[in-house]
């Protein structure tokens, strides 16, 4: 069963074969999770988003038209879910005091066994810098840096031309570094 292609697994999953869908999850969980990690504040949030992604994929599998690669479709859902999560977090943060936010960010780092204070500061700074990027630049940067997708692959996920993606990645790198240099204390 491990030698089956994505299309075979999708066909079997559509015939209510849970094992086939679980194999799809196991095959793509690392990619989905690490993409979510780029958008989320911590590992727990990234796992929660990744879980939502696969539940959505299961529910929408019948709508997958095979017009793009399964992984492209999966990345699109992952990006949308991650952006929705960020939007919700932004809204929830309106009701939190600054202290609560800081505590949350520190708690979020407990999953890192070697997370020293400097690393926590670095993570916090990176997350702030990523959040400060315009949405399209953020998506392009995360797909390029966390997933190491090629410009062509990112273009397929974002439904943009290759040149547009290249410009987005270039600008996102510059803006991110400018933010880090300006706000790093």
């Amino acid at each position: 069963m491990h030698n089956l292609t994505d299309n075979d697994l999708i066909k079997q999953a559509l015939q209510a074969d849970e094992k086939a869908f679980q194999l799809l999850v196991e095959k793509y969980q690392q990619q989905v999770f690490s993409t979510c990690m780029g958008f989320a504040k911590n590992k727990q949030d990234a796992e929660d988003i990744a879980q939502e992604v696969f539940v959505e994929v299961f529910q929408s599998l019948g709508k997958f038209r095979h017009q793009s690669a399964f992984s492209t479709w999966l990345y699109r859902i992952t990006v949308n879910k991650s952006l929705n999560h960020q939007r919700k977090q932004k809204f929830l943060n309106l009701f939190k005091s600054n202290n609560e936010e800081v505590t949350y960010a520190l708690e979020a780092d407990h999953h890192l066994p070697d997370a020293g204070l400097v690393q926590k500061d670095n993570r916090r700074l990176l997350k702030k810098a990523l959040a400060a990027l315009p949405k399209n630049q953020r998506v392009a940067f995360i797909l390029s840096k966390y997933q190491e997708l090629s410009g062509k692959e990112i273009a397929a996920v974002m439904n943009l031309s290759l040149s547009a993606v290249e410009a987005l990645v270039h600008r996102s790198r510059k803006n991110l570094k400018a933010y880090l240099l300006k706000n790093g204390e």
Partner: protein, 138 residues
């Protein structure tokens, strides 16, 4: 080379920070502020390499399948559905209680208004009534 030029160099560089030009190295050696700034930037960017290596929980796929099975259940059997049903029940209870309470209010008003209309002694004093009664008896 000044601090702004150093900043601009790092913003526009392609990320190969090992082979820095001599003048940048000299500036960083003499300017603590720029050195700290660059250290912070490279440290933050290094976090990406660390996060890329993180893996989901070993039971992640089992958890996903559990969530899918739970989503397949009818709404009322799910924890969220049960919670919503409980909230709806409390809401109905509150609405019924408010309706009952407002009915009592209304009946109190009626009683008061009845008392008000019965008490018309200022319109027709007791003496007048007694005189009327006497005249009827005669």
């Amino acid at each position: 080379m000044n601090c702004n030029e150093v900043k601009s160099f790092f913003i526009n560089s392609d990320g190969h920070l090992q082979a820095l030009p001599e003048e940048i190295k000299n500036h960083l050696a003499s300017c603590a502020s720029c050195a700290r700034m660059v250290e912070q930037m490279t440290g933050a960017l290094e976090v990406i390499n660390h996060e890329k290596l993180l893996q989901p929980d070993p039971f992640f796929s089992t958890r996903v399948m559990g969530a899918i099975r739970e989503n397949k259940q009818p709404l009322l059997l799910r924890p969220v559905g049960q919670m919503a049903a409980a909230v709806a029940a409390v809401f109905v209870g509150v609405v019924l209680a408010m309706a009952t309470f407002s009915y009592n209010d209304y009946s109190d008003e009626q009683t008061l208004s009845e008392v008000y209309y019965l008490n018309e002694l200022h319109v027709e004093p007791m003496e007048m009534q007694l005189l009327n009664d006497l005249s009827h008896e005669e």
